[in-house]
């Protein structure tokens, strides 16, 4: 493989409408167990990407704001050093990777993750027999006692890379096969995925533009210094306070 890749995503909060298309796309692609009613009531529902909704103000001067939250694939990920068995580690492409068959379920990582994006299988996942036909054969079904989380759809990255090599071409920026499932689903183009080592990729250009002085880019809970590979772009609002950005 020529050169190194480093995967990153941008999330334009100003575009996000909270429609949940990404959530279900992720569940479909990654064999996420069905979150039935008891799981929600136990606060154990699994959504590798979830939409958080925040209220601001009260009727009639009220706002509801949406933001998608998922693994930030931090360069200095707080979840990694605490894993006693190296089940969670950083790979050469900047991904925070979870090795399921190393995981012993200590749950130290979820305890240390400030973004609360790691999900633990408290129960053995179950699907009725006919629904098992929809399971993606490229993705492991995790069993009880295993931690799981967003992988940036590593199976798609692998498959696309392999097919590109087979066909003697480079992986193209914005390839639908490379994009994580949530990115393809998002109807408003809130999510952009790509290789930040490639200066011509959309994500690199967005990073350069929006992380500059008058850009809208920020890191989620940036003060924690986790070095996320996900860049959020600020919501635009005429009622904004603080420093003005275009």
């Amino acid at each position: 493989m020529e050169g190194r890749q480093k995967w990153a995503m941008t999330v334009d909060v100003d575009r996000c409408i909270g429609c949940q298309a990404c959530v279900i796309a992720c569940q479909s692609e990654n064999n996420i167990p069905i979150s039935d009613e008891p799981l929600f009531n136990q606060r154990r529902a699994m959504e590798w990407i979830r939409i958080e909704r925040y209220w601001e103000g009260e009727f009639p001067d009220v706002k509801a704001r949406f933001i998608p939250i998922f693994c930030q694939h931090c360069d200095d990920a707080p979840c990694e050093p605490v894993c006693p068995v190296y089940a969670t580690y950083h790979n050469s492409e900047g991904l925070n990777v979870q090795v399921y068959n190393r995981c012993i379920g200590s749950r130290l990582c979820v305890n240390n993750c400030p973004y609360q994006v790691r999900y633990f299988n408290f129960w053995e996942p179950e699907w009725p027999e006919s629904l098992q036909n929809q399971l993606n054969p490229d993705v492991t079904v995790r069993s009880r006692g295993i931690m799981e989380k967003c992988t940036f759809c590593i199976q798609r990255i692998r498959r696309t890379g392999r097919e590109a090599k087979r066909d003697g071409r480079k992986v193209e920026d914005g390839d639908r096969g490379l994009n994580p499932a949530c990115v393809n689903a998002c109807p408003t183009d809130t999510l952009v995925f790509g290789d930040v080592m490639d200066p011509d990729s959309r994500v690199s250009k967005l990073k350069e533009k929006e992380m500059s002085e008058d850009g809208r880019g920020y890191h989620l809970l940036g003060s924690l210094g986790t070095g996320p590979n996900v860049i959020y772009l600020k919501k635009v609002d005429e009622h904004a306070s603080g420093p003005t950005h275009a």
Partner: protein
């Protein structure tokens, strides 16, 4: 079948035999499926049938099983985007409670006792009943609105046999269509060019969520926000903080049914202020005022502001109206859309006509960022738009059923026993119908009452075509192909499922009806019907030299389109605006503890058709984040006054019955409104839907809007009382305690607007 983006199968197989070099990249000496080549996947293009919009999708198929649904990048309606509902098409294919063979009722009607029979037996029984019927008018076909070739086959069958065809559209758009017809002279729904608009004003239409063509509109909305040089503005006028309202730069709260009054007031400001009028379209204004500038005098902001919103002061509302009117003409291209609850009051047509007339004031019809009329479909012989029955037709049908004037009901893709208000008595009247035949693939509420079930294929197993309504402003035909072999094929030729088109064709054959359609199977009908498109359309469709190649191309691309074939012809001038307001009427209790009832289509279950799919049940509602249950949104302060907390089981009593729901108090709803999602409360529907939550549609009063006898489903009032019970509301909110509040905007910081 056409393969989209065909891959070199040989090369994949070759590589699958060895260990790919990239394995060295993996730092763990552990192999997971993610690191292995696991077989050849193909993506087939088809049309999503999970909701009436009909998005173009591609489906990933591995070893004969469908694995993933994504948007079809080529398809002009949704351009690669899709919704959670499209994605769940997989689960309707592999639904564990799907009906896998024809079923004959053995117990009492509705008791759920069935015996499997063979297809030959089932079709013979059906044909026998139809040929025995002396008066074919006593046979009624109830379907979803059917477009293109299936619509043609159903229409022909009904007319040749002599049956009545009553297409069922839950949350009908009859009022909306009537308004489009009156204001723009268009028979078909136009496209709304949200992408290129600078200012979008929506009245009640939850267009980002469930309204008309939500994926297309959401895509346009993303572009409106950050796709151009300048960020577009979006203002929502609504009686409830809907998902669309939550995404607006400004939500203007109005009392239910007063949206039209607000629109007329905006029109009055523009017409009477020369500085604004100069920027507007004079011809449009003249038509709308009938040449009389004082016509709208009664709608001056100061006169009507008090009636529009009781929740904010009249002065503030009048100021808002003036500002909105000024913005609407200053930030052109501007666009006004309306629908949903705004069109579902007793003055719905008055409201929508006022809303859509705003477009004529700025003269945006046919212009970028405006209302783009759609051309008629390119196919000859197919209905130009799906036929739809109004609520009045249903009332008549229920009456006929009660009077013994209906001998058989043939139901497909429609669930009127769930969706029609109980006050109509449709369900009770069905006991007076000797035979009910259902062609549903799942045990919905109507099918549970059937005598014989002839189960249809799931959409991903069936052929079909679609003329999207609304289209994208040019001619499009979607082609639906089976992406997998029928799942119940292994049950043998006598059992399993069949396509509805094929069932009708074999029925016509048995009854010796000549439908005058070429083709022995429904696939032939679709295929032969596409011949007339050959040599036409955009590239590559115009370039194929042989029909097999052309047909293959249609399936590869999931459709046919001609970006040059747009609407042409004049747009008639709009009718004059009314000089007097129509006051909305409400039925139901008044006084202490009563509210306006705002039913809304659930984001994932829509009108209830998604309730049997676990993904959609588990999809959090955008605003409440609630799942799996029916909840009632109530104002936080009001709830405190009434001592109601989240999870309290409350009884909601209308003039026609009562339902129970879990209270969800939040700060975003008016203290005068209680909102309840539509979609739950099924009597049947399999393990995920049955007996879950409550059906708010069932307790609505059967009052009508002022157009074409459409149901005024937003015109109800409701009394809310505590039952004393409490149940946990399953929701996503607060399941992650650390991120539950964002008081200091650490999570969603804001950037200021640049204008």
């Amino acid at each position: 079948m056409g393969v989209l983006g065909g891959s070199a199968a040989g090369a994949v197989l070759f590589q699958a035999c060895g260990v790919p070099e990239e394995e060295l990249l993996v730092e763990a000496p552990l192999q997971m499926p993610e690191d292995l080549v696991s077989g050849v996947d193909n993506w087939y293009a088809t049309v999503c049938r999970q909701c009436p919009t009909g998005e173009g999708v591609v489906v990933r198929v591995i070893e004969g099983r469908a694995k993933k649904v994504e948007g079809n990048v080529d398809y002009p309606v949704n351009m690669g985007k899709h919704s959670a509902r499209c994605e769940a098409g997989l689960q309707s294919l592999y639904d564990p409670d799907r009906i896998s063979a024809p079923l004959l009722r053995t117990g009492e009607r509705g008791a759920g006792q069935w015996e499997e029979v063979s297809w030959t037996d089932a079709i013979t029984r059906l044909a026998h009943q139809l040929s025995e019927t002396a008066d074919p008018e006593q046979v009624v076909m109830v379907t979803e609105p059917l477009s293109a070739h299936l619509g043609m086959v159903a229409e022909r069958f009904a007319s040749k046999y002599g049956a009545r065809h009553v297409p069922y559209e839950p949350l009908e758009r009859t009022t909306l269509r009537a308004s489009i017809e009156q204001v723009f002279g268009q028979e078909r729904m136009p496209d709304f060019d949200i992408e290129n608009a600078s200012y979008l004003l929506s009245f009640g239409a939850d267009f980002l969520n469930t309204w008309v063509s939500p994926v297309r509109y959401a895509r346009g909305f993303g572009q409106l926000r950050q796709g151009g040089m300048e960020r577009g503005t979006f203002v929502q006028v609504d009686s409830r903080l809907s998902m669309s309202a939550a995404n607006a730069d400004e939500w203007i709260h109005v009392n239910p049914g007063r949206e039209g009054l607000l629109a007329l007031s905006i029109a009055q400001v523009i017409v009477s202020d020369p500085a604004l009028r100069r920027l507007a379209d004079e011809a449009g204004i003249r038509a709308l005022t009938d040449g009389d500038d004082s016509r709208l005098g009664a709608f001056a902001p100061d006169l009507v502001a008090g009636a529009i919103s009781g929740a904010v002061s009249a002065e503030r509302m009048a100021e808002t109206i003036r500002r909105t009117a000024s913005d609407f003409v200053h930030h052109q291209p501007s666009l006004a859309i309306g629908g949903g609850p705004a069109g579902a009051h007793t003055n719905g047509l008055f409201t929508l006509n006022a809303v859509y007339s705003l477009n004529r004031i700025v003269g945006n019809v046919g212009k970028p960022g405006g209302v783009i009329p759609n051309p008629p479909p390119p196919l000859e012989g197919v209905p130009s738009r799906p036929a739809v029955a109004s609520f009045e037709d249903w009332r008549n049908l229920a009456g006929d059923m009660r009077g013994g004037r209906v001998r058989a009901l043939l139901v497909r893709g429609a669930d009127p026993m769930y969706g029609l208000p109980e006050a109509l008595g449709f369900r009770a009247a069905s006991y007076d119908v000797p035979f009910i035949f259902s062609f549903s693939s799942r045990m919905d509420d109507t099918t549970a009452m059937a005598d014989l079930v002839l189960p249809s294929h799931a959409p991903l197993e069936d052929w079909g075509s679609d003329v999207p309504d609304p289209g994208p402003g040019h001619q499009v035909v979607g082609y639906q192909q089976p992406v997998v072999r029928p799942f119940f094929e292994q049950r043998g030729v006598h059992l399993g499922t069949k396509g509805f088109g094929d069932i009708l064709l074999s029925l016509a054959h048995l009854l010796e009806l000549d439908l005058e359609i070429p083709g022995a199977t429904f696939m032939d009908v679709v295929k032969e019907g596409s011949r007339q498109l050959m040599g036409r359309g955009s590239a590559p469709f115009s370039t194929y030299s042989s029909f097999p190649a052309f047909w293959n191309g249609l399936l590869r691309h999931g459709g046919w389109w001609d970006t040059g074939a747009k609407h042409d012809g004049p747009i008639p001038p709009p009718p004059p605006l009314p000089a007097e307001a129509e006051i909305p009427q409400f039925s139901g209790p008044e006084g202490e503890g009563t509210f306006y009832l705002a039913p809304f289509a659930s984001a994932s279950l829509t009108d209830g058709r998604g309730a049997h799919l676990p993904w959609l049940q588990a999809t959090p509602d955008p605003l409440s984040t609630a799942t799996w249950r029916t909840w009632a949104e109530i104002n936080l302060k009001k709830a405190r006054e009434m001592d109601i907390e989240e999870g309290d089981v409350v009884r909601l009593e209308t003039a026609h019955g009562s339902i129970e729901a879990l209270a969800y108090p939040h700060p975003g709803i008016s203290p005068e409104v209680v909102a309840v999602p539509i979609g739950q409360g099924h009597r049947a529907g399999g393990r995920y839907a049955e007996g879950r939550g409550a059906n708010v549609l069932s307790v609505l009063s059967p009052s009508l809007t002022d157009a074409a006898g459409s149901l005024a489903w937003a015109a109800n009032r409701v009394k809310v009382t505590k039952t004393g019970r409490w149940e946990r509301l399953p929701k996503m909110e607060n399941s992650k305690p650390d991120l539950a509040v964002d008081e200091h905007r650490l999570i969603i910081p804001l950037a200021q607007r640049d204008r």
